[in-house]
């Protein structure tokens, strides 16, 4: 599977490492090249420094041939916009988007984006830990 990841945060970098280790073709994009320190040392995929909201940059990252696009930058709005561009402009078959704000996450999930709110998930898990 060819995967493009936008945002080399701790999460993005770790996900890139996991997919790469399983043999998938991974390209990760981040506006700040310093963030590539979150990639594992044996990462064999491609790391590109550039703005993932720019269509030219996404094309260079190979979004037109990608099977999946994951966006996990620090900004909810950036993630939302990039995910919509991938889905509606480039028609990537699978698009997953991280949205911290649970209210925003609910809205975009009803609008058809595949979304994950780490805030919601973690709060739920913490609660379950307390109850167990």
């Amino acid at each position: 599977m060819k995967v493009v990841i936008m945002g080399c945060s701790r999460v993005g970098g770790r996900l890139a490492g996991l997919l790469d280790a399983e043999g998938h073709s991974v390209t990760i994009v981040d506006i700040d090249a310093y963030s590539f320190r979150w990639l594992p040392p044996d990462f064999k995929g491609t790391a590109l420094a550039g703005n993932g909201l720019d269509q030219e940059m996404l094309k260079r990252a190979g979004i037109e041939e990608a099977d999946a696009f994951v966006v996990a930058t620090q900004g909810d709005n950036r993630n939302i916009m990039a995910a919509q561009v991938a889905k509606h402009i480039f028609h990537v078959p699978k698009v997953v988007c991280r949205i911290r704000d649970p209210l925003r996450e609910e809205l975009y999930s009803t609008l058809g984006l595949e979304t994950l709110s780490p805030t919601k998930i973690l709060a739920q898990m913490l609660k379950e830990k307390l109850e167990s």
Binding site: D54, D76, N77, I80, H88, I89, D101, L103, R104, T110
Partner: protein, 220 residues
């Protein structure tokens, strides 16, 4: 009308001032307390300190009853999300977004934003207008109808000078609306109107026939 403006920077400030002076009810949402204070001191208590993409804040300021929602922060993605929130969560019928990257115009349209204003494109259009050598200037684009209003300048060495309009092979999708001669009053063109050097011709056309129109008016 009740209008919500997201972003209280310079664009937001002057926009709000203009809207208020036209008698509209305006609420501004601004992230930075410092800008909020300036607006509240100078334009009256109309600025709310908060995030214009947050459903909670938008609910508080009565977005549900807004007639128009305008997002003019400096970040395209923030403007997009604020407008989509207003549109899909609060059913605001008219949403307007400021964009920086002209590429985003098409994307925003596709994602349901009613109107986009690109400062980059506006400046470009003004430059086009002022540069005489520009053979064709875009004056207005009527996007949802696929039409544009353009201005074509006739240079002094044009091969069409002296010919009546009926002899020009204008594309089917174009109409000449007005001829502005250099020294005389503007007039409505008829099929017998003669093209002269220095004329400025205002025409309505589809973007596809733009090149054909320019060649027909100015010669090959």
């Amino acid at each position: 009308m009740y209008i919500i403006v997201v972003g209280g920077g310079r664009v937001g400030y002057y926009l709000t001032k203009a809207l208020l002076s036209e008698g509209h009810e305006v609420t501004v949402v601004e992230k930075h307390a410092r800008f909020c204070k300036i607006i509240n001191n100078e334009l009256g208590d109309i600025c709310v300190h908060g995030d214009g993409c947050e459903a909670f804040t938008l609910d508080e300021i009565g977005t549900g009853r807004a007639d128009m929602f305008i997002a003019v922060t400096g970040d395209d993605e923030d403007n997009l999300v604020a407008c989509q929130m207003a549109k899909h969560k609060f059913n605001v019928s008219r949403t307007i977004a400021r964009i920086r990257n002209p590429q985003n115009e098409a994307i925003f349209k596709k994602l349901g934003i009613d109107i986009t204003v690109s400062s980059t494109n506006v400046i470009l259009e003004h430059i086009e207008e002022d540069v005489l050598v520009q053979p064709l200037t875009h004056l207005l684009t009527i996007r949802d109808k696929g039409l544009e209003i353009v201005e074509v300048k006739i240079p002094p060495d044009s091969t069409t000078i002296g010919k009546p309009i009926k002899e020009l092979s204008l594309p089917k999708e174009s109409r000449l609306a007005l001829i502005i001669p250099k020294e005389r009053k503007p007039r409505l063109p008829t099929s017998d109107t003669i093209i002269r050097g220095g004329d400025r011709i205002i025409a309505i056309t589809t973007p596809e026939s733009e090149d054909e129109l320019r060649t027909a008016l100015r010669g090959g």
